[in-house]
C-alpha cells in the first residue's frame, strides 16, 4: 500500500516533533518531507530561553546562605523550618518546571529541539529534588539538544543534579563511590557488557573530587581527588574524570549504543535494522558525535518513511498528552491536572523510575493505564472529574504526609471535598480552530478524513461503522467533536 504524503509528514512530525498542530494541518498534504525537515531545523535554531520558576523566597533563602558554606555543613546553617520550607518549595517548583516545559513542548516552534531534549531527559535520567539543579540541567539538555553528544555527556557529568543523584559528592580518594562511574558506562555511553568491574573501580577513582556547590556549579576538590595511577580499558595513567569521558567517546561502542537507542526512539522500537544502525553509528562517530547530522541521516532517508515504521511506536504518556493538546488546541484552567495524568499513566517529568529512565514500549500499557488513556479524550471534552487516585511517592512527600494531609488527600481523591479541584478537568477546547481543516469535507467523508489526520495506522484499521455508531450526528459540529473523541479513544490513537 502506498503511503500518502500526509501520512509521511505526520510520521516525521510525530517522531521529530510532538505531533501535528491544528494550525498547520492544511499544508501537510502538499509539503515535501525534505522541506518539512528543513523547517523543523530552522525553527529550532534559536537558543532556548532559560526556564526559571524558582520561588523568590526560596531564592533569597538559598542565596543568603552564602557561597562560603560547604554543602556538608549546610545542615548546621539552616533551621529545621528552613530546611522543611526548602524541600517543600523546591518540590512545588519542580511541578511548575514540569508544566512550563510541557507548555514548551505543546506551543514552542522549536519542536525538534524540545523533542530531542525530551529524549536526553530520559537518557540522562535523574531524580533530584533541588529545583535550581534541575533547572540548570534542563537548560543543558535544551540548549545542547541538537549539538554534540560529547558536549551533553560532559555537561551532564559535571551537573549538580547528576553528581548529586549518583552520589559523586561522596566519591573521595579514601572512600571511592562507584555509582557514577558505573552508570556513566552502563547507561550513558557503552551499555552493559562492554566494560569490566575493574574498569568501574578504576574510573571511580578518576572521578574522585568531582562535586558541586550550592549554586549548582561544578567544583573540583583537589584534596579529595586520587592522583594515583589507574588502569582503565587497558590503558594506564594518572587519569582524571575528563580523561575517562574522552576514552568513552573514543570508544566506537558509545556511538553504537547511542545510535541504537535513538533509532528505537525515533524510527522503530520493535524492529531494529542492525545494518542501518551500524551505518548510522559509523557516520555519527566520524562526525565526532554531531547530533544534527545523525538526525538528518535518519529523517531525510527513504527507509524512515517505510510503512513498517509508521504507527509502530506506543506514545509515551507525555507524548500522548502533548500530542492531544497540539492537535486539539485548549486552555486548561487548572493545568496541574496534567500532573495527575502523568502520574496515572506512569511518566512524571523529572521523576524517572530510576537512572535507567522510562523503559517505554509495552511497559506503558496495562489494564488500568490503557483504560485511562481511552477515557482521557472524553474527560477533556466533557470537563469531567478524573476520579482516580495516583500512587503516592514518598521521595516527594519526604515524611511530610501527616495525618491532616493524609485525610485531605483521601478526600480529594475520593471526591469528598466541595470545590475539589485536583481532579476537575476544566478544558476550554478551541473547537473552531480545530474544525477549520474539516470545513469543506462532506459529511460522508468525514470519518475517513479524520481518521487519516488523527491516526498513524493504515487506512481502515478501524471500521468506519464502529466509529459512526458512537457519533453524535445531530449536527456537523457535534459529529466532528464526537468522532474526534471516538478516534482518540482507540488503541490505534496510542500509536505514532
Amino acid at each position: 500500500m502506498a503511503v500518502s504524503n500526509r501520512l509521511k509528514n505526520q510520521h516525521l512530525l510525530w517522531r521529530a516533533a510532538f505531533g501535528p498542530m491544528a494550525e498547520a494541518q492544511a499544508d501537510l498534504d502538499t509539503v515535501s518531507q525534505k522541506k518539512l525537515w528543513e523547517t523543523l531545523v530552522k525553527t529550532s535554531a534559536k537558543e532556548p530561553e532559560y526556564i526559571d520558576v524558582a520561588n523568590n523566597v526560596l531564592k533569597g533563602l538559598v542565596s543568603g546562605i552564602g557561597d562560603a558554606v560547604r554543602m556538608e555543613n549546610l545542615k548546621d546553617k539552616l533551621t529545621p523550618e528552613d530546611r522543611k520550607f526548602i524541600r517543600q518549595q523546591s518540590q512545588e517548583d519542580l511541578k511548575s518546571l514540569n508544566l512550563r516545559w510541557m507548555a514548551e513542548m505543546i506551543n514552542s516552534e522549536s519542536q525538534l529541539r524540545e523533542k530531542m531534549a525530551f529524549f536526553w531527559h530520559g537518557h540522562f535520567a535523574c531524580r533530584e529534588i533541588n529545583i535550581f539543579y534541575q533547572q540548570l540541567m534542563l537548560q543543558e539538555m535544551r540548549s545542547k539538544a541538537l549539538t554534540n553528544f560529547g558536549d551533553i555527556l560532559k555537561a551532564v557529568s559535571k551537573s549538580a543534579s547528576m553528581l548529586s543523584f549518583l552520589n559523586n559528592q561522596q566519591n573521595r580518594k579514601q572512600h571511592p563511590n562507584e555509582n557514577f562511574a558505573r552508570e556513566v558506562m552502563e547507561l550513558f555511553t557503552l551499555g552493559r557488557g562492554n566494560y569490566t568491574e575493574n574498569d568501574i573501580r578504576e574510573a571511580a577513582r578518576a572521578f574522585t573530587g568531582w562535586g558541586f556547590n550550592l549554586k549548582g556549579e561544578f567544583v573540583f576538590r583537589r584534596g579529595q581527588h586520587d592522583e594515583g595511577s589507574k588502569t582503565i580499558f587497558g590503558k594506564t595513567g594518572n587519569f582524571d574524570g575528563d580523561d575517562v569521558l574522552n576514552m568513552l567517546l573514543e570508544n566506537k561502542q558509545t556511538s553504537k549504543y547511542i545510535t541504537r537507542k535513538l533509532y528505537k526512539f525515533l524510527v522503530n522500537e520493535n524492529e531494529v535494522d542492525d545494518a542501518r544502525v551500524n551505518w548510522l553509528a559509523d557516520r555519527f562517530y566520524t562526525s565526532k558525535y554531531d547530533i544534527q547530522s545523525l538526525l538528518k541521516d535518519i529523517f531525510t532517508s527513504d527507509w524512515f518513511y517505510a510503512e513498517k515504521n509508521i504507527g509502530s511506536k506506543i506514545k509515551s504518556p507525555v507524548e500522548l498528552i502533548v500530542g492531544i493538546r497540539r492537535v486539539l488546541p485548549m486552555e486548561l484552567q487548572i493545568s496541574q491536572v496534567q500532573l495527575l495524568f502523568q502520574k496515572v499513566l506512569g511518566q512524571v517529568l523529572f521523576y524517572p523510575p530510576n537512572v535507567a529512565g522510562w523503559p517505554g514500549g509495552t511497559s506503558w500499557i496495562d489494564s488500568s493505564s490503557l483504560m485511562f488513556r481511552l477515557r482521557l479524550p472524553q474527560l477533556l471534552k466533557d470537563n469531567e472529574t478524573a476520579n482516580i487516585t495516583p500512587k503516592t511517592d514518598d521521595d516527594q512527600q519526604m515524611g511530610m504526609m501527616d495525618d491532616k494531609m493524609a485525610k485531605r488527600d483521601y478526600k480529594i481523591y475520593n471526591n469528598k471535598t466541595p470545590g475539589n479541584t485536583a481532579q476537575r478537568i476544566m478544558a476550554d477546547i478551541n473547537w473552531d480552530e480545530y474544525m477549520k481543516v474539516y470545513k469543506d469535507i462532506p459529511r460522508e467523508n468525514l470519518v475517513d478524513v479524520m481518521a487519516t489526520i488523527l491516526l498513524q495506522t493504515p487506512d481502515g484499521s478501524i471500521k468506519k461503522d464502529t466509529v459512526s455508531a458512537a457519533a453524535d450526528a445531530s449536527s456537523k459540529e457535534t459529529f466532528i467533536k464526537s468522532v474526534t473523541v471516538a478516534l482518540m479513544a482507540t488503541p490505534e490513537y496510542q500509536l505514532c
Binding site: T362, I365, D366
Partner: protein
C-alpha cells in the same frame, strides 16, 4: 505475541461458561464445605509504603541499646503487647498479638538486601523487581511469576492489585496483573458499548503493536466482567472497618470466597515515612491495619479458607536506630516482615531479633535477603519455579 481472533472469542465465551460449571455449585455448599477445591493457595501481599520503622513495630523490650538510642520514641515494656520475655509488639497491632497467640503469625527480623539504598523509590523498585541494587529491571517479581505460570491462562486475573494504578511488582514481560479499586467500578468503566464494539471489530495480525493494545483491552473487558460476577457470587458478610484497607480486604475476601482463579492479591497502606511525629502516624496506620486484618482473618476462618491464605507484609526499608530531633526516625535498612495465615509451618518469632551492636551506618544490618522470602513463597506456597522467576537460586526458608 500472536493471538488469533478465534482464541479471543473462546476466551470471551469461557467467562460465561464458567457459571454453568458444577464448580460453581460448590460455593453454595454451606458453611461446612470448602468453597473452592482444597489446595488452592492464595497469597496476599501487604505493602507498607514509606519505610516502616521495624524497631517500634516489633520491640526488643530487654535491649538497653534500643532504649538508650530512643529515649523519647522507645516503646516501654509496659506499653508494648508482650509476645515473650524479650519481644513486644506495638500496642496498636492488637490483632497481631491475638494471631501470635493462636500460632497464626510469623515474624522475620532483619530482612533486607545487599548494598541497600535509602531512597524510597529506588529501594521500592528493588523490592518490586527482586533485582540487585545495581541492576535495573522493568518487570516485577509477581509479573515474572505471571509470565512463567500463565502462558496458557484463560484470563489475566491471576494477580490483582487493589488500586487505581498497577505496581511494577505485578508487571511481567508478557503478562501484567490487573489493578482495580472496586469490581463494580472497573466493570462500569470497561463495559462501554464503544469499547466492546472496538474490541469486536479488530482483526489480529502478526505481532503488530496495535494487537498488544487490543489484547490488553479485550482482556480488561472480559476480566472486568469475570471479576465483577465472581465478586457477587459469595460476597463477604463480615463487618469490616470503614477504612481504605478495610474495604480492600473485604473485596479480596469476597473474591477469595468465590471461584475466581486469582492466586495473588496486592494491596498497600501508607505512608510510614515517619521523619516527624512517628508515634501518632504509626498508631493511626497500625490501628487501620490491625482492625482490617482482624476482620479479614475472622472472615476467612469462618469460611474455612484461612489455611489456604498467606498474607505477607513488607516495607522498602526500616529506619535508623537512633531517633531524630523531630519525634521521628530517618531512613534505615533492614526491617521485619509478617506472615499471617492458617497454614504456617513455623510460627512466632522466626529468627534472632535485630543486632543493635553491629550496625550498618547506624541501621539494622540485613540478615535475611528478601529474595529468599520470595523464593520460598513462590516455590513452597505458589508451587512455582522460583529459580526461573528470580533468575537465581536463593535459600529456601521453612515458614511455609
Amino acid at each position: 505475541m500472536v493471538i488469533k481472533r478465534r482464541e479471543f472469542l473462546q476466551i470471551g465465551s469461557l467467562a460465561s461458561a464458567s457459571f454453568m460449571m458444577p464448580k460453581f455449585l460448590k460455593a453454595f455448599e454451606g458453611n461446612g464445605g470448602k468453597m473452592v477445591p482444597p489446595g488452592n493457595k492464595v497469597l496476599v501481599v501487604l505493602q507498607m509504603s514509606g519505610g516502616n520503622d521495624g524497631l517500634n513495630t516489633v520491640i526488643p523490650i530487654r535491649n538497653d541499646i534500643y532504649y538508650r538510642e530512643r529515649p523519647k520514641l522507645g516503646i516501654t515494656k509496659e506499653n508494648a503487647l508482650l509476645l515473650n520475655d524479650e519481644v513486644g509488639i506495638n500496642p496498636a497491632l492488637s490483632s497481631f498479638k491475638e494471631l501470635f497467640d493462636q500460632g497464626q503469625l510469623g515474624i522475620m527480623n532483619s530482612v533486607g538486601y545487599p548494598e541497600p539504598d535509602r531512597s524510597h523509590f529506588r529501594s521500592m523498585d528493588i523490592w518490586h523487581t527482586a533485582s540487585a541494587s545495581n541492576e535495573y529491571s522493568s518487570t516485577g517479581w509477581l509479573g515474572k511469576y505471571l509470565d512463567a505460570q500463565c502462558k496458557d491462562c484463560d484470563k489475566p486475573t491471576q494477580a490483582l492489585e487493589l488500586d487505581d494504578v498497577l505496581s511494577l511488582a505485578l508487571k511481567g514481560d508478557n503478562i501484567k496483573g490487573l489493578a482495580l479499586k472496586d469490581p463494580q467500578r472497573l466493570f462500569n468503566a470497561s463495559q462501554a458499548q464503544y469499547f466492546k464494539a472496538l474490541a469486536k471489530q479488530h482483526q489480529y495480525e502478526h505481532e503488530r503493536p496495535a494487537d498488544y493494545l487490543y489484547k490488553t483491552m479485550a482482556e480488561t473487558i472480559s476480566s472486568a466482567d469475570y471479576i465483577y460476577k465472581q465478586s457477587k457470587m459469595h460476597p463477604s458478610t463480615e463487618v469490616y472497618p470503614n477504612t481504605e484497607l478495610g474495604k480492600n480486604l473485604k473485596t479480596i475476601s469476597s473474591l477469595i470466597l468465590s471461584d475466581i482463579n486469582t492466586k495473588v492479591y496486592y494491596v498497600s497502606i501508607g505512608s510510614f515515612d515517619t521523619h516527624v511525629g512517628q508515634e501518632n502516624t504509626q498508631k493511626r496506620l497500625f490501628t487501620e491495619m490491625s482492625d482490617a486484618i482482624r476482620a479479614f482473618t475472622n472472615d476467612l476462618k469462618k469460611n474455612n479458607r484461612f489455611e489456604d491464605v498467606l498474607m505477607m507484609t513488607f516495607s522498602e526499608f526500616g529506619r535508623r536506630l537512633t531517633q531524630n530531633a523531630s519525634g521521628g526516625t530517618d531512613h534505615g535498612k533492614g526491617s521485619n516482615m509478617f506472615f499471617i495465615g492458617g497454614g504456617l509451618k513455623q510460627k512466632g518469632i522466626l529468627n534472632d531479633m535485630p543486632d543493635l551492636v553491629n550496625l550498618d551506618e547506624g541501621d539494622v544490618k540485613y540478615k535475611v535477603d528478601f529474595k529468599s522470602v520470595y523464593a520460598t513463597v513462590l516455590n513452597k506456597w505458589l508451587g512455582a519455579d522460583d529459580q526461573l522467576i528470580l533468575g537465581k537460586k536463593y535459600e529456601q526458608l521453612n515458614f511455609v
